[in-house]
């Protein structure tokens, strides 16, 4: 999912007639003070990062004066919050909030419909409130042939317990939010909190997640590809790897860094390695064998679906660029994929990045499936298998054999390094 930042999401809401706080982004303390001066009065300074729970993480601060805004902006900018470096902050008027609600439209996998959700109690911890069976929460599964109209919204809000003067304005906001959800092919369009103020309901915070497969329909958003992996931003290597797939539909090269900086391996006392598998199933079963032996993949990569050799060449270069890896494991399932092509890509990469194609770290290659023997021959023909750090395995090998072979190679490699160091 491509997640829009708060200010981007609010821009879409405003274009659909939903009220948002006055303000704009700033990337320096000076600019923050300038915006605060223009707004007058107290302001909120909000780190623009693709992560939730910013308030709890101290990434939302308030300032009473422009100077105060500059000081607080200085505290936020450049700080690492929830794994993201804060490069921009949104400086907004501080709202006088009478009450906070929750409103969202989500693609509901259970009902296979858009579902509009309204909760009387918004703000932080709304998920916990909902999970504890909190009262005042109502949902409406939308029939796309009918759409979501004002009378649907009124019925939803009525069930949630909304009464009085706020009802029509909230219903209008819900209908407009649904319009945003549809217009921009969202997976989620969320306003939390909906701030009830003297001037009516205002989207105090907003979150919009777009459907990756529909991004091409919205060039106006300037989002070329999903910029995050799970709850964090993509790493530079993940962005580079995503570009490989984006420019070539033939087969896949899905690359995700499980432990980008190696800190997980360090904290667990494990050895960080590069990894590539043909098929996610075989990757998981191989990792089940590698991890108990003390190895932790720095990345997960799936190169299946019969990718071109050029795709393998590029992704192998990405995997081996990861710093401090102490090995590389390639394993295929019993695939119908043309493994000779797969091997050619890896061989070209090895020949280019290693002198004579001889790696500096232990490497195990296990080819099982179509043209597996040809694939293995490639490593012999190009001299790569001459390296004492390379082990080739064929169709009779199991995932355990792969892990055991790698463990043996790694032990020998580490022992020789220690010997050399003494």
């Amino acid at each position: 999912m491509a997640k829009l930042l708060e200010f981007q999401a609010k821009r879409l809401l405003r274009s659909s007639g939903i009220s948002i706080p006055k303000g704009r982004t700033a990337s320096s303390p000076h600019a923050a003070a300038e915006v605060a001066g223009e707004l007058g009065g107290a302001v909120a300074l909000k780190a623009q990062i693709a992560a939730g729970k910013r308030g709890k993480a101290g990434a939302i601060l308030f300032a009473a004066t422009p100077q105060d805004a500059a000081d607080k902006a200085g505290q936020l900018l450049g700080r690492n919050v929830l794994g993201h470096t804060v490069e921009d902050i949104l400086v907004e008027e501080k709202l006088d909030i009478l009450q906070e609600h929750y409103l969202a439209v989500m693609s509901n996998p259970e009902t296979q419909t858009p579902t509009v959700i309204f909760a009387l109690q918004g703000g932080i911890d709304v998920e916990e409130h909902a999970a504890s069976g909190g009262v005042g929460i109502a949902t409406f599964n939308v029939d796309l042939t009918d759409g979501f109209r004002t009378y649907h919204a009124l019925e939803l809000l009525g069930r949630a317990g909304v009464t009085g003067r706020a009802l029509p304005a909230l219903a209008q906001m819900a209908v407009r939010l649904f319009e945003v959800y549809r217009k921009y092919d969202c997976m989620l369009a969320e306003i939390n909190p909906v701030a009830l103020t003297a001037r009516g309901p205002v989207a105090a915070d907003a979150r919009i997640n777009l459907d990756d497969d529909a991004l091409f329909r919205h060039p106006e958003l300037g989002v070329e590809e999903a910029g995050e992996v799970g709850e964090r931003s993509r790493t530079p290597l993940e962005t580079i790897a995503a570009g490989i797939d984006a420019h070539d539909h033939r087969g896949s090269a899905h690359f995700v860094q499980i432990d980008p900086d190696g800190s997980l391996a360090a904290s667990e006392g494990k050895i960080s390695i590069g990894f590539d598998g043909v098929g996610t199933g075989v990757s998981l079963t191989t990792l089940d064998e590698l991890v108990p032996r003390g190895f932790l993949p720095r990345n997960f990569c799936d190169t299946s679906g019969n990718p071109t050799a050029s795709k393998l060449y590029r992704i192998t270069r990405v995997i081996l660029a990861q710093p401090e890896i102490e090995g590389y494991v390639f394993v295929s399932c019993l695939s119908s994929q043309q493994l000779d092509n797969t091997a050619r890509g890896i061989v070209k990469a090895f020949k280019e990045i290693y002198p004579g194609g001889q790696p500096n770290i232990p490497c195990v290659f296990c080819f099982r499936g179509a043209w597996d023997e040809t694939a293995l021959e490639m490593f012999e023909q190009h001299g790569i298998s001459k390296s004492p750090l390379v082990r080739l395995l064929g169709r009779d090998a199991t995932e355990r054999d792969v892990a055991v072979a790698f463990g043996e190679l790694h032990s020998g490699w580490r022992a020789s390094r220690m010997e050399a160091a003494q």
Partner: protein, 111 residues
């Protein structure tokens, strides 16, 4: 007289270039044999004793060449080095440059 080059782009970005003066001297023409293996693309043919295309360069660039790299690797082992199969990765090159400027070492350069 120079035979010049045979050059075409590939779908994923990059190009293949044959230095036909070198290819003329090559006795094996291993690239053509490799490309014509039963499970590969067969975009190459022998043309006046040097590699030529069975299709237009535009067709090769649209995916006619499946980028199996067989020609280049066969040339490495059995030919005399007339082929350049360039698959540029400028973003990765830039990343590696920045990484080394920060004093970090890419995994493949560790000592």
């Amino acid at each position: 007289m120079s035979r010049g080059t045979l050059e075409f782009n590939v779908f994923s970005g990059g190009f293949v270039r044959f230095d036909l003066d070198v290819c003329t001297r090559c006795g094996s023409k291993a690239c053509v044999t490799a490309c014509n293996a039963p499970n590969l693309a067969c975009v190459l043919k022998l043309d006046n004793d040097v590699p030529g295309l069975r299709m237009t360069p535009a067709e090769a660039a649209r995916g006619g060449c499946i980028e199996c790299l067989a020609c280049e690797l066969a040339c490495d082992t059995d030919g005399i080095g007339g082929i350049t199969f360039a698959l540029p990765m400028p973003e990765l090159d830039s990343y590696l440059h920045d990484m080394e400027a920060r004093g970090e070492t890419p995994g493949f350069k560790r000592t």
